[in-house]
């Protein structure tokens, strides 16, 4: 007999959903949990949404977030990530007009929730790393900021992103043309793109450079080549203008 799920209250669905967990997989029925999700996201049942929100927030904290204390020293807490991720799911359902066909069963939906959460965690880590890098680079030895904080871009200004990518591509090609030595190209990546310290470079590439002095000599060579190349300097100037 097929139940008419639309008649059940949220509370009743939760009870039935939980009840299924005790059954073997061959006879288990997922539709009650799924109906909860459907009401929350597609029927815009505000109360189902809040219920599902709570239900899966706790699932995240108990089963998906391994080490919430990792974030204790950082501004955003594990709870913030859960809130942000769940709001993002909500927005995606509105913006992308998701349908039930996108989630043939509950496990796929939960997988989707988990992916969204990890996207938020990854984005947070990346933004934090880029911001710390820029703060590091914009201080002089006297500790003054050569570039005010409000001039440091957020890094994701989509209106100029396409142009920046095109300039990056040209810079990449020009660097490869100027630095014909593979080791120089690797050093350029480590030093300029990744801002690795000499110790880190030596740790990863001890077969290319034996000590810090070797790296220093190679850096000088690279910098002279780049400073003397008018095309490269023009591209760099273009890039600065699009920040």
């Amino acid at each position: 007999m097929t139940d008419d799920l639309s008649q059940f209250s949220v509370d009743h669905l939760l009870d039935r959903c939980a009840e299924q967990a005790t059954k073997k997989s061959e006879i288990r029925e997922d539709q009650y949990c799924f109906e909860l999700v459907r009401r929350a996201f597609l029927a815009w049942d505000e109360f189902a949404l809040k219920h599902v929100l709570h239900m899966y927030r706790t699932v995240w904290s108990k089963h998906w977030i391994r080490n919430p204390h990792e974030l204790d020293t950082h501004p955003q807490t594990a709870e913030d990530f859960k809130n942000i991720a769940f709001n993002k799911v909500n927005e995606n359902f509105i913006r992308q007009k998701k349908t039930m066909a996108d989630f043939p069963d509950l496990s796929r939906f939960l997988g989707y929730l988990k992916t969204i959460l990890s996207h938020e965690v990854g984005a947070y880590y990346r933004k934090r790393e880029v911001r710390e890098f820029r703060l590091r680079k914009t201080k002089t030895d006297d500790g003054d900021d050569t570039e005010k904080m409000d001039q440091i871009p957020a890094g994701d200004d989509s209106s100029q992103e396409v142009e920046r990518k095109q300039i990056w591509q040209k810079i990449d090609e020009r660097v490869k043309a100027l630095l014909k030595n593979d080791a120089d190209q690797i050093l350029f990546n480590c030093w300029i793109k990744l801002d690795l310290s000499h110790d880190e470079i030596l740790q990863h590439y001890s077969h290319l450079w034996h000590n810090k002095n070797d790296i220093r000599v190679a850096r000088q060579r690279i910098q002279r080549k780049l400073e003397r190349d008018r095309d490269f300097l023009e591209l760099l100037k273009d890039l600065r203008e699009r920040r």
Binding site: A21, L106, G111, K114, Y125, K137
Partner: protein, 261 residues
């Protein structure tokens, strides 16, 4: 290191011989000898040369930092094995020579659980309902608080103000819910006020669900305002359970409330 702001750049070293490029790079790397540092203190020519090198390096780094690193979403999708074979290959190739992306992946691995047990939620072979069941149990243990009628009554009976002089109070010692009832055109109207001695304001913007035990109709719903009050005005007499949800996940539950005219 002091810098003077003259209109003209110094044209020669104040204390020859001028520092070599090697020595200037040693300063950038914080490896310079005390003599080199003393030289820079007295020689603006060499200081300017150092500044020029530093500024060029800085403009390169600021402009090109991680420009060919994949977006963080892709690293996360790689982590969850959600990429095509081609995309996975590209990410793997990038990871081989990018310690920053390796660190990012490690951060995700540390933060997010992806072992066999926890991958149950994204695996079709193991039902997520097991997780839901655990969740419901934890949920009930941790945040659901049962309120009972004051004076240890077995269940509460709510009547209109004309029939019941005092409002009905449900409590668990820390949280109390005061209910009053009145007759309106649409039916019966309940007004509820929550007083939480443990966390003032917790129930603001929450919601209330009133479930009929005597019929199969969908639950009645109401929002809780900023004064932690709610109103529900289309009820009929009968027996009800009431669930009250806070935005932080706490729940209050009343069982078997009888509403009479």
């Amino acid at each position: 290191m002091s810098r003077s702001r003259k209109n003209q750049m110094p044209t020669k070293c104040a204390a020859p011989p001028a520092l070599s490029d090697d020595e200037l790079y040693e300063v950038l790397d914080d490896d310079a000898s005390p003599q080199v540092l003393r030289h820079l203190e007295i020689c603006e020519f060499c200081s300017e040369r150092l500044d020029k090198i530093r500024q060029f390096e800085r403009s390169l780094q600021l402009g090109l930092h991680r420009f060919d690193c994949p977006p963080s979403d892709q690293i996360a999708d790689y982590f969850h094995q959600n990429l095509t074979m081609w995309e996975t290959g590209n990410i793997q190739a990038h990871l081989e020579h990018c310690p920053l992306c390796q660190k990012e992946l490690k951060y995700l691995q540390t933060f997010l659980a992806l072992d066999e047990e926890d991958s149950a939620l994204s695996s079709e072979s193991i039902s997520p309902l097991d997780q839901v069941q655990r969740l419901v149990n934890q949920f009930a243990d941790q945040v659901v608080r049962l309120l009972t009628p004051e004076n240890n009554l077995a269940y509460g009976v709510l009547k209109t103000r004309r029939a019941q002089e005092q409002p009905l109070i449900y409590t668990n010692g820390l949280v109390s819910l005061t209910l009053s009832l009145e007759k309106v055109i649409e039916g019966l109207k309940i007004t509820g006020t929550i007083l939480d001695r443990e966390a003032e304001g917790r129930w603001r913007d929450g919601h209330v669900e009133v479930i009929s035990l005597s019929s199969d109709r969908p639950p009645f719903q109401a929002a809780i305002d900023e004064d932690e009050m709610f109103v529900m005005d289309t009820l009929s007499p009968g027996r009800f359970n009431i669930n009250i949800y806070a935005v932080d996940g706490h729940i209050l539950r009343l069982q078997d409330l009888e509403i009479q005219l």
